[in-house]
Amino acid sequence: MYVGKSVKRVDAYDKVTGRAMYTDDLADRKALVAKVVHSTVAHGIVKHVDTAEALTVPGVVKIFTCFDVPEQRFPTAGHPWSTDPHHQDVSDRNLLARHVRFYGDDVAAVVAENEVAAAQAARLVKVEYEKLPFVTDVQEAMADSAPLLHEEFPNNILAHTTMGYGDFDEAIREPGLLKFEGWYDTPIVQHCHIENHVCYAYKENGKIVVVSSTQIPHIVRRVVGQALGIPWGRVRVIKPYIGGGFGNKQDTLYEPLCAFLSQELGGRMVKLDVSREETFVSNRVRHAVRSHITSYVRPDGTFVARKLEAFSNQGAYASHGHGICAKGMSAFTQLYPCKACRGDAYTVFTNLPVAGAMRGYGIPQAMFAGESHVEDIARALGMDSLELRRKNMMPVGFLNAFDHNENYYDSFNQCLAVGMKEIDYEKKLKAYQNQTGDIRRGIGHSIFWYNTAVWPISLESTSCRMVLNQDGSLQVQLGETEIGQGADTAFAQMAADTVGVRLEDVHIISSQDTDITPFGLGSFASRQTYVGGFAIKQTGLLFRERILTYARELTRMPVFNLDIIDGNIIRTTDGRVLLPLSDLATEAIYSLNHSAHITAESTYQVKSNAYSFGCCFAEVEVDIPLCKVKLLKIVNVHDCGTLVNPQLAEAQVHGGMSMAIGYGLSEQLLFDPKTGKTLNDNLLDYKLSTTMDHPDLVARFVENAEPTSAFGTKSLGEPPACPGAPAIRNAVLQATGVAVNRVPLNPHVLFERFKEEGLL
């Protein structure tokens, strides 16, 4: 059996030798190069674009402006399409914008024979704007007097939804309740995958082929079709290896524009490779969310009623929209079930870069607010915050009526116990109480839960194909995509176990091609092993059945007495090896009696979801005069069900922890209030964690097999990014007594707070 073993990555050799080919490595060096001309105002109407001087640059082929593209609006979010018009994503993008809505919007595209010419010409394109007032703050954007970004959305409100249970007004009438209230802010951050988004397009056999660094090839195919107004089957999207995505590439980015440029230039190959600066500004970012939480609590710490109001900054276009804030709200209402709970979430357009999906999809924001708030309540009550959490957190047996998620095990307590031991929690908590002096230490923690996949909000469908080769090895293809997380390796392990062959005989096809790969939705929602597992198991069993049926012909044994183990056909009654699968495979193909190309393909529609649980413990040292936080130790503990590959799971947790450390301590995009321009659109001024900013990262697991899952697994991709920031914040609170209600906890923020609290 391979599931549960730390086998090496199937793509490790290619990646460690530099042979793995990414999008730009594959592009023909003679491809034309496109550069986008971006808006230099935060809000305005393009009156005129003067391309005369730009066209004089040698090598320029053609310049397309916002007046040259069709009025053909399309959505961009990497969501499964809905055939119900009411559930479709908002179509608010054009290939290029006449009404520009943020500093960095796309106004024109220059196509040239080389990159230098394209870049030079792009700088010479002169755009004349009618400037409009702009707004960057969510609350200001909702005011009647605010500039309106999209006519269809009054007060700039993309969506406003509520959820909850119980009679809130009745619940808070209980005598003796204590009321706690807090406002919490999270920043706009960016995914910072090391490979920027890049794509190239060309025409072949009457089709437009787009090779792209994307997480969602099949969705991109649909959106390119929608944007160009051509049948979806006339679009072919190929996804080679990709250099990280983290949700930014769970959006259709420049693929439609690139396809359009190629189409308009007679199908010649056009490459659109965005710069790091463009990645920061003109791709997607994570929503900044402002949360207001009110809790009514009994003096013994029992939560009675809780309310969350959340305001999510969408930026200029809808992209993934309200899904992010709504998901955070849903997590809030379920993490600490009480008598009555209310959620009230707004997603609001502003003149800032477009927010989309990013690792955690609303949960890092909601957990920062919620877990900071719980810590503050514990402090006010004089209670141990761990006890307060244990008293109120989602109990075993909790069932959510909407998605039928069930808390089957005592995962939270198990995870907390592992984390406490790992970090020596009780001893440190005691040691760090009542400190004085400039340098103080503290310990903090937080818990979280995360969904797996998108059912029942959206479709969950997954397909798999298996093809037997002459030597008994097999090709496996899925629509679920490898984006660096190790999905292909997990898929190969699952396939080997299901069919009964050796891992080295499973050839997983990593590259995705919408003309060839079975339909799948792509890589998002931490769904790959959970959702892919169903299709692999179902298809694998079908495939086995076909092999064993053929084996019956060769062995004259009944199928029910046959099995495939380690690549051999076995008689189960006595365990005898009847023949190697390789012999069967050769015979099946070349038989003069009965030649058979043994394959299997099937679709599994997933109609379940699963809670994934975990916690984080952080230990910090705060230098009060310097307003600096040093992270001394950090431990994440996850229950993501059965681990398919423990070593890769641990590695994935490290990456999520690193992202959470950046979220908690250093990362944020800053904007010039006068112009709306992004101020730190580069990896020097945007403070991504380096090797120097981490202690050793400790990842631990509690393995409770998920009953709804084909292989006992559930989500792990995004969860590690969820609990880190509030754990760090709570550790700083223990160290200094200062509650900081915004991240990142950088010196600028801490200086202000320490001053307010009289520490400085």
Binding site: S6, K8, R9, D11, A12, Y13, D14, K15, V16, T17, G18, R19, A20, M21, Y22, D24, D25, R29, V116, H191, C192, H193, I194, E195, N196, Y241, I242, G243, G244, F246, S275, R276, I483, G484, Q485, G486, Q647, L648, E650, A651, Q652, H654, G655, G656, M657, S658, M659, N682, L683, L684, L688, S689, T690, T691, M692, H694, D696, L697
Partner: protein, 160 residues
């Protein structure tokens, strides 16, 4: 377009080529020599994905003009592989320690690791962190990368 003839050694072979004087070494290696292990992540010397060895010292090739390579000895990740496709010890360690995820930063990091290991010195873990700090990686949290480098360092020095 102004060009200049340069002569240099690339991965052990002497090469001569007319180079666009504006080209970065990254572009020359990728486009002219098709050494696509040299990755582009920022093109301004921030991320380290394009790191190569020039006369034994690591440089961000994106901010190193190709014409400066005249007379130099350049090594990219492609040079590490044995003739039969055998992995070098540091490559094998990256595989064994699960130090690879998306793989995009990997070639650059490994070249810095080669520079570190070639000093034949024993570094503390904190020193290794500092020596590797010129590389940005968003997948691994650096944990297993540091583990891989440390493991090979100790092995080469005959330490447990």
């Amino acid at each position: 377009m102004q060009t200049k003839l340069i002569k240099c050694t690339i991965n052990g072979k002497e090469r001569e080529l007319m180079i666009d004087v504006r080209a970065s070494l990254t572009d020359a290696l990728r486009n002219d020599f098709r050494l696509t292990s040299v990755k582009k992540g920022c093109e301004v010397g921030e991320c380290g994905a394009c790191n190569v060895l020039i006369d034994g010292e690591c440089f961000n090739s994106c901010i190193y003009l190709a014409v400066w390579a005249d007379g130099k000895d350049i090594r990219t990740l492609e040079s590490l592989l044995g003739e039969g496709g055998e992995l070098s010890d540091i490559q094998q360690a990256f595989v064994d320690e699960a130090a690879i995820q998306c793989g995009f930063c990997t070639p650059g990091v490994i070249m810095t690791a080669v520079e570190i290991l070639d000093t034949k010195r024993l570094y503390t873990r904190d020193e290794l962190r500092k020596l590797l700090s010129g590389h940005l990686c968003r997948c691994t949290g650096y944990e297993n990368i540091i583990n891989a480098v440390e493991k090979v360092m100790k092995k080469r020095l005959g330490l447990p």
